[in-house]
């Protein structure tokens, strides 16, 4: 019963693992570039949850610091990524990654 009432390390890690898996699933199965980028955000935030959890249970501040940096970087990456996706939409008239394929094997 305690497993359901007291929230511990395992709960956080499970949530982060689920988020990571969902992110990977979105990246692998979705065709829309924007949804793929949303999947990447999920992966990054899974890592953030891990860092914060370990920071709490290991008793240091490093994890909190790293997760702040990861948030900022995710924002920077989203800015560059959306610029590229807008450019793709202008040239290809679509954001479907499977139809953006002009180069052949």
């Amino acid at each position: 019963m305690e497993m359901f009432t007291a929230i511990g390390l395992n709960h956080f890690l499970t949530i982060s693992a689920i988020l990571f898996s969902l992110g990977m699933y979105a990246v692998m199965t979705r065709k829309n570039a924007i949804v793929i980028l949303m999947g990447v955000e999920l992966i990054m935030n899974a890592a953030n949850i891990n860092f914060l959890t370990f920071s709490k249970y290991n008793g240091g501040m490093e994890g909190v610091m790293i997760s702040l940096f990861v948030i900022v970087l995710a924002a920077a990456e989203a800015a560059v990524a959306l610029a590229i996706v807008i450019n793709i939409f202008k040239t290809f008239k679509t954001v479907d990654v499977s139809s953006v394929d002009t180069m052949k094997e």
Binding site: N50, E77, V80, T102
Partner: protein
């Protein structure tokens, strides 16, 4: 829960930062150069592209002076163990500055890229930003710093890849590079978070101590290892993580292809070596009971797969840039062979091989740019009969390709020889088999590399346009210098080999 630092503590932090900055001068200088170039472009207003390019080259050359002064400083860790200064890092600083300069030189030769309407302002500043990022990748000693450096390189590289934004191929390359890059950096940071969880440390030498003292859960370690390997393997372009490279190499502007294929690949290897030699040497043998997966075995598989896949698939390529992309996958495999020996000879061999790869690969792309200026294409079939029209370019390309195969008397031969010597010197059956795979795949590579000179010299052109095939004076000089250097260092490689041996020393790592 956490106390605020007192005034005295803050003072001591500031003084540590001040003393650390003295060890960080080349990076500070190049960051300043990055901003100066943006302002210079604003002042020039998009005209006079040669001035901007020359300013970049002079600025990069200026950083060599600051890097040279670092030889006098002792090996140390600065900024609370975030960053290090050691001979290994200094070697890579020289390496990346040279790569940057050659990339700018290649850019100046590319008429298609310079004809861009929107100007070249951000191009050179992003190129310099990438040099800073790659230097930091080679010297970071902290998980956070490693991730930040890698993202600096990646974000600049995405923009540079898509720089020809009106072109379908360039935009498509940028999108693919971005998607794969974002996913693998996400996997890298997740792997780092697991390592932080196991050890409660972020500095790589402290991680190593923690792993040695308290042990670790093998399953978590393998998972973390796989994730970190995915992040780094993407930068190196090694096999299971190589999907982006053919499309990106084909679509990106050719100077950027040359820059990515040498610079960011070398940065990935530098980071892998530091992480692998310093942080997890104890994790190498301890996890064998778990499915037999450990770092070394995993890298052996990646190396063999890269060599075989890269060299075999390259045979069917019709586009020169695409072919060189597959060849660069194969070269990642050869470089990994030097790393898995985990000793000083292997590290030395990797550094020598990278130097040779820098000269011959950028040289090859330089000639590809010059030819594309004249015939407007990178297809192998259009190269027919070009050897008679552009004899110097043909000769230079042939030398670079011979070096890429690894035949004497070129620098490529020296690099391959040292890698295989290190591998065989290490002993053991598996290492012997890997060397055999390496040599056999080199033989395969002879076929597709030599297909280009075959087309250029022994076949006649179908379109006999009466065009002017003369290249400029400056371009001829650069091509000749690169060609002669490739041959010269193939014969007199002693100084480079010695400098590489001197550089094979990392802060916190003990190599035998």
């Amino acid at each position: 829960m956490f106390e605020m630092p007192s005034g005295a503590e803050i003072q001591s932090i500031i003084s540590t930062l001040k003393s650390g900055a003295g060890y960080f001068i080349p990076e500070l200088y190049l960051s300043a150069l990055f901003m100066v170039l943006i302002i210079l472009d604003l002042v020039l207003g998009g005209r006079r592209k040669t001035i901007l390019a020359s300013a970049t080259i002079i600025g990069l050359l200026g950083s060599v002076f600051f890097i040279f002064q670092q030889h006098a400083l002792p090996d140390t860790e600065i900024f609370f163990g975030m960053y290090s200064l050691d001979r290994f890092g200094i070697f890579f600083k020289y390496f990346f500055v040279l790569t940057g300069i050659l990339a700018v030189v290649t850019t100046m030769a590319d008429e298609h890229l310079n004809a861009q309407e929107s100007g070249m302002g951000e191009y050179y500043s992003l190129l310099v930003a990438m040099v800073v990022g790659m230097m930091m990748m080679a010297s970071s000693t902290d998980l956070l710093m490693m991730f930040l450096a890698m993202e600096l390189v990646s974000l600049s590289a995405y923009v540079l890849t898509g720089y020809l934004k009106r072109e379908l191929r360039s935009s498509e390359a940028a999108l693919k590079y971005l998607v794969y890059g974002a996913v693998s950096s996400g996997m890298l940071i997740y792997g780092f978070s697991l390592i932080y969880g196991i050890t409660a440390q972020t500095n790589i030498s402290k991680i190593s101590m923690e792993l040695a003292q308290h042990g670790y859960d093998p399953l978590v370690m393998i998972l973390a290892t796989l994730l970190v390997m995915a992040g780094l393997g993407y930068k190196m372009g090694a096999v299971p993580f190589h999907f982006w490279s053919p499309d990106v190499y084909e679509g990106a502007p050719t100077p950027i292809t040359a820059y990515l294929s040498v610079g960011s690949k070398a940065a990935g290897f530098a980071m892998l070596m530091r992480f692998f030699f310093v942080a997890v040497p104890h994790a190498v043998e301890g996890v064998e009971d778990m499915l037999g997966i450990d770092w070394i075995t995993m890298m052996m598989f990646i190396a063999a797969a890269s060599m075989i896949y890269g060299n075999v698939v390259a045979i069917w390529q019709k586009n020169v840039k695409r072919m060189l992309a597959y060849s660069s996958i194969a070269h990642a495999g050869y470089l990994l062979l030097g790393i898995i020996t985990m000793d000083q000879i292997g590290t030395q061999a990797v550094l020598v091989y990278l130097t040779g790869y820098l000269l011959m690969n950028i040289g090859a792309f330089y000639v590809v740019v010059l030819i594309a200026n004249k015939i407007g294409s990178e297809n192998l079939d259009d190269y027919k009969g070009l050897g008679k029209k552009m004899p110097l370019a043909g000769a230079a390309l042939t030398v670079f390709l011979i070096a890429l195969v690894g035949l004497p008397p070129t620098f490529g031969f020296v690099g391959k020889l040292m890698i295989f010597t290190a591998l065989l010197g290490h002993g053991g059956d598996l290492y012997m088999w890997l060397a055999l795979v390496g040599i056999l795949t080199s033989v395969i590579s002879l076929y597709y590399y030599m297909y280009i000179p075959l087309n250029m010299f022994l076949r006649d052109s179908e379109l006999n346009a009466e065009k002017d095939f003369k290249t400029g004076m400056m371009q001829n000089v650069i091509m000749t210098v690169l060609m002669l250097l490739t041959i010269y260092f193939g014969l007199f490689f002693q100084p480079i080999a010695e400098y590489a041996k001197y550089s094979a020393s990392m802060f916190g790592a003990v190599l035998n």
